[in-house]
Amino acid sequence: MQSRFLTYLFRRVLQAVPLLLLVVVITFLLVHAAPGDPVDVLSGQMETAPEYREQLRREFGLDRPLYVQLGRYVAKVTSLDLGYSLRYRVDVFDLIMSRLPATLLLMGTSLVLSSAIGILLGAFAARHPYSAADNAATLVALAGYSMPVFWLGQLLLLLFALNLGWFPTQGMASLRAPAEGWGRAFDIAHHLALPALTYSVYNLTLIFRLTRARMQETLAEDYITTARAKGVSEGAVVFRHALRNALLPVVTVIGLTFGFMLAGSVLTETVFAWPGLGRLMYEAIMARDYPILMGLFIFISSLVIVANVITDVIYALIDPRVVYK
């Protein structure tokens, strides 16, 4: 069993490689499909010094046949060279890595929060279907589900940060805050609250609705009757026997929403000036900084692919029926 699982894990990781390559190839093709000289795209379309243009031409082999160029590009990207941003005067990969922790913190917090709360509420609502509390929760969830993220973010910002002053309006840390220890952690958490909430609403409602629907179906399964027939208490029926089965598709959806969350990060991080990848993407779009945009495209696509592999592996761990092939 153990070794079969490891083989499965290895296979799943291997299967991700062609996908990652495809992402790089698409990026390459986009550069070349753009009108005009690829150097304009690669350099960030700024007024660049002729020497730098010459250097790019040599580096990417732009005078060589297309397949050689592709080969070089793939080689560069696989050695984590995502190009150079003239605007920031830094290596794109380094820039992305410096912005990654902020996004991971924000995404991680809201993913954990929205999953935990969404699953608990969903399980509760399924136990008392069509009760007043369930109907209210369903209505609120529908509202949250259909609310535009940036609008919600600005609403929260207006109310809790500007009017009530309970939370800071932007950024990830205050200038006057302690540089380390609990003081710093608290300061970051304080800044994190509103963007994390904004970020969570969509996922929370999605996970709530899905869990509730799946729980209702699962509670009608025959093996739930078996559990009750052997004297299992109602709480254990719901949280031990039903929840684990009901969560199987929920896990898949949480994995898939990862990609949507990254897309949503542009909006949330821009509203709250959160110094993460989404904010970086916004800045790069505004500045037409193509090296950064291409780097982000490759990096975020890779994150999504990796997230999907992780999701599959978790699914295989919790569903014994998955055949490892």
Binding site: D222, Y223, T226, G231, V232, E234, H241, P320, R321
Partner: protein, 323 residues
């Protein structure tokens, strides 16, 4: 007569958007300690609902509307939910029809058996696991030390049914309810499973309520029979009496349809006519539209429940004068 279980006037309806399904309508039955009793009738007549109701396992939109379920001197319908939980799986256990869907797919079978032992014998995890192993051995599962670690999908239908039986008998219930325990299985293993079930319950001294439409099994394994039609018990008799001379026309029809080509009793085939709609059952005798012997009172008023010679009971106008 000393009784283990006495069901009086049990009534369970299902409140569907299409109307109220009168699935169980005033059912009464008795089971003595260690006795094997059969409940037979066509599919959809309310057998499973009767069993689930007396275990109080029905959920909305199904509701128990009335009746008493006396078990060891207590009315189960009046117990608190916590008290009832101790009865379920402890004093009354149930084996279900389809071993494919009645085991939880994400738990190891050993753990599923151990859970029942944990609940009713107050044992710790280790002891319960040992008990589960013992229970699997009891139901003659080969290599039980390995099988405790299996998931349901790794077992054949027959093996899964053995697991369900192990789960049910692990706590030595006084009453075992088996709802068509072999219907979903391969013909070749039906006999094995039924023999196993019967052996174990004899050994434990448990009473058995066997729900079945296989009159061959009923004849072989049961002492008494209740025949159910459209939510009502229409005949009650000991097995010999029933097969020798059915007193209700429906029982006669069932017997006739269950004689197979070599004139042995087996599962009954479809009998003539449609089973009634339980939302709007026929007036008078519910069987009258299909009854070959129906006469004028049958469609007008409900037939009397008549106690006949030897304590047999039939619900039919033919016995109005008590014969």
């Amino acid at each position: 007569m000393q009784e283990l279980l006495r069901v009086e006037d049990l009534t369970t309806h299902i409140f569907t958007p299409a109307g109220v399904v009168r699935a169980v309508e005033g059912v009464s039955l008795r089971i003595r300690p260690s006795e094997a009793v059969a409940l037979v009738g066509e599919s959809g007549c309310g057998k499973s609902m009767t069993a689930l109701s007396l275990m109080r396992l029905v959920r909305p939109p199904v509701r128990i509307l009335g009746g008493r379920v006396w078990f060891k001197g207590r009315d189960l319908l009046a117990l608190s939910e916590a008290e009832m939980r101790m009865v379920r799986g402890g004093e009354i256990a149930m084996v279900f029809q389809d071993p494919m869907t009645f085991l939880n797919p994400v738990f190891r079978v050993g753990d599923q058996v151990a859970e029942a032992i944990c609940i009713h014998q107050g044992l710790g995890r280790r002891a319960a696991e040992a008990g589960a192993l013992e229970a699997l051995r009891h139901v003659k599962i080969p290599a039980p030390e390995a099988v405790v670690h299996y998931y349901p999908h790794q077992l054949s239908g027959g093996m899964r049914q053995r697991v369900l039986i192990a789960m049910a008998v692990a706590c030595r219930p006084a009453l075992l309810i088996a709802d068509e325990p072999t219907t979903a299985l391969d013909v070749t293993i039906q006999a094995q499973i039924m023999a196993l079930l019967s052996d174990i319950r004899r050994e434990l001294g448990s009473a058995l309520l066997l729900i079945s439409h296989d009159l061959g099994l009923v004849a072989e394994y049961c002492d008494r029979v209740y025949v159910m039609y459209a939510g009502e018990i229409v005949e009650e008799a000991d097995v010999f009496g029933l097969f020798k001379g059915p007193q209700h026309p429906y029982t006669a029809a069932l017997l006739k349809s269950s004689l197979n080509i070599d004139h042995r009793v087996a599962a009954f085939e479809a009998i003539e006519g449609q089973p009634p709609n339980l939302i709007a059952p026929p007036p008078g005798c519910r069987f009258h539209p299909r009854c070959p012997r129906a006469f004028e009172p049958c469609s007008r008023s409900a037939p009397p429940v008549v106690t006949l010679e030897g304590g047999r009971v039939a619900r039919c106008w033919l016995h109005e004068d008590g014969r």
